[in-house]
Amino acid sequence: MLPTYLTLMLLFPLFGGLTCAVAGRKLPRALVEVLACATVWGSFVCAALAAAAYSRPQVIPLADWFASFDLAIPFSLYLDPLSLSMAVMIGFVCGLIHVYSVFYMREDQDYARYFALLNLFVFAMLTLVLGETLPLLYLGWEGVGFCSYLLIGFWYSDPANADAGRKAFITTRIGDVALMIALAWVFQLFGTLSITKVNGMGFLMPVSVITMLGILFLIAAMGKSAQVPLMVWLPDAMAGPTPVSAMIHAATMVTAGVYLLARLLPLIGGSKAALAAIAVTGAVTAFYGATCALAQRDLKRVLAYSTISQIGYMMLGVGAGAVTAATFHLLVHAFFKALLFLGAGCVIAAMHHEQDIYKMGGLRRSLPLTFWSFLVGAACLAGIPLTGGFFSKDSILLAVWIKGGVLYQALYLLGLVTALITAYYSFRLVFLVFAGDNGHVHRNSGLTVMQVVLIPLAILGLFGGLLDLPAYLGGGYLSGFFAALPAGDLPTASHEQEITLQAVAGVVALVGLLAAYLRYGKGRAERMREAQAQSTPLISFLAQGWYFDKLYDLVLIRPYQALAGFLWQRVDEAVIDATVDGLGSGVGGVGGLFGRWSTGKVAVYLISFAAGAALILGYLAWLAL
């Protein structure tokens, strides 16, 4: 039964996407909306059935795809705890987002294109997650990149949106080049591209090769998961519709990098240096994202930076070798970040598309459902004790701590500081948006449904901790489920260590909450006044994302433009074009010269004739002599 479920899981969204793309404009709107939602929910049902039927990790070959000389790439899927839990999460969260989209995009006339892309995106993401061979994974990887490019630039008539789409596409492409190189190299080294086989053969290669492979995969993940230094695209990608942000930039695509590294951890885990690089990238990104989120004014950009930061945590978890913890955080984060984005969508819809948090306020009373759900999301993000986010983030920090060594302990401290900042900016958002007064909202029937969608996500976020409770509370479901994964052996923490670290994390989160309350809860009116004034250099530095955009502009884009200009005007136009033009005009000139010779005057012809005859005679004479 398993092959049927998996095939259907992939085919449903593909069918929905193709139907919407081909015939969407001809079909009635309600039908397109129902079709788009039904296919994704159908996919989720298949994933749930597959989960019910699941017994052990297995490779499920569906068809032959590619077989020449010694390269064979079959269409085969791989179902193991990692891909199964991802598939179930994707089906569920994307299903909710589809329903939400129906109401969010109610005013938009281009619904067919929207739903077609959304469905294709789900298809590509599931291909990425379930693919057993690296090329199949790469196909899904590029598929989500392509769909996200089109969805970020969905409102393409505004050049800024189209630019944001292109920026996302090109930046992630840098990572994809590394992935492509890694793929070619893996084939050259191991003679196969099957993930399961490659994972089992890591010990055959010297550590330096594994390190290089790990770094290449890390660069790929940097692009897709918006890690330092390829993170500049994600804040701009907020140009797309809010449900798209929730889906791509919270639940699915950006986690693909983490998934890739977790998937290949048995291979790259053989190199300590590669793991350390992953961990450092993750921790630095987490810190970077959190600091930038502190100073943003745009509601969605705060969430964008917080996504960067949270994915940094996941990378940190992978870098510590803790696939379970990373996946745990990935799943819980998907729930609460989708919740936060969709909540933000409700707020934005209710505020007539106002996104400046300093112009909001008082939504606590006018949008109570959104408020409570958003509060849950923010609490999860902040890691307030006993929420899902608390347990998942803490399991990563715990894994980093018990990994030991100076490097990992430093990273643990960085993670802890990040947690403090995270709690602070999460509640800054809550206080600025929902506290105070002067909230005028714009209600419609769609808003009610949109808010209802938040409830299941809020419940999942809040109780997500139950997925993987710490050992002293009886152990978790995920840990048992993931125990089969070949991901290296981690030292286990004692209960005292766990409790101590969780207490520390809890205190840190509460301190952040308290600080946010003092500054933005009590001093809200004052902050609103300050926001009108000129911002300090530090605030601008953070608001601009540490000026990374400007740096790249200076270091990469300007020289590139200068080089392009040089090649265009100096080389192409001045040398190549000039040569060809000169050749043409030379031939033309010579022709003109001969043309002038035919004057029509008998005398000229006669002299020419005589001269010609003399030349021939002379030549003959020269031959004869």
Binding site: S598, T599, G600, V602, A603, A613
Partner: protein, 102 residues
């Protein structure tokens, strides 16, 4: 044959060259040019006749007779054209006639 062919050819060449010289030197005058052309044709005829006598074949003689017929026809046409052109532009200077230029 008492006169060797080479002598005949030398005379013919000289005549041809003089005819050409006449055409080029008096190119401003159509009539003088016609005369030059006639001299060149005569040089050719002389070559034919000389060759015919040298090899004892009558073809060359025949050709020269045909050439005489041709030249008389040519001259009558050419003189008619000269008269016509003179009437058109009141001159026999060939440089004035360049409407055939490419």
């Amino acid at each position: 044959m008492s006169v060797p062919l080479s002598h005949v050819l030398i005379v013919a060449s000289l005549m041809f060259a003089m005819g050409l010289g006449c055409v080029i030197a008096w190119r401003a005058n159509v009539i003088m040019m016609l005369i030059g052309i006639e001299i060149m044709l005569n040089a050719v005829m002389l070559t034919f006749v000389g060759g015919s006598a040298h090899w004892g074949i009558a073809d060359g003689q025949l050709f020269s007779l045909m050439l005489m017929a041709l030249t008389s026809a040519e001259v009558s046409l050419a003189l008619a054209m000269v008269v016509y052109l003179h009437r058109r532009k009141q001159t026999v200077n060939t440089d004035e006639f360049d409407s055939m230029k490419g």
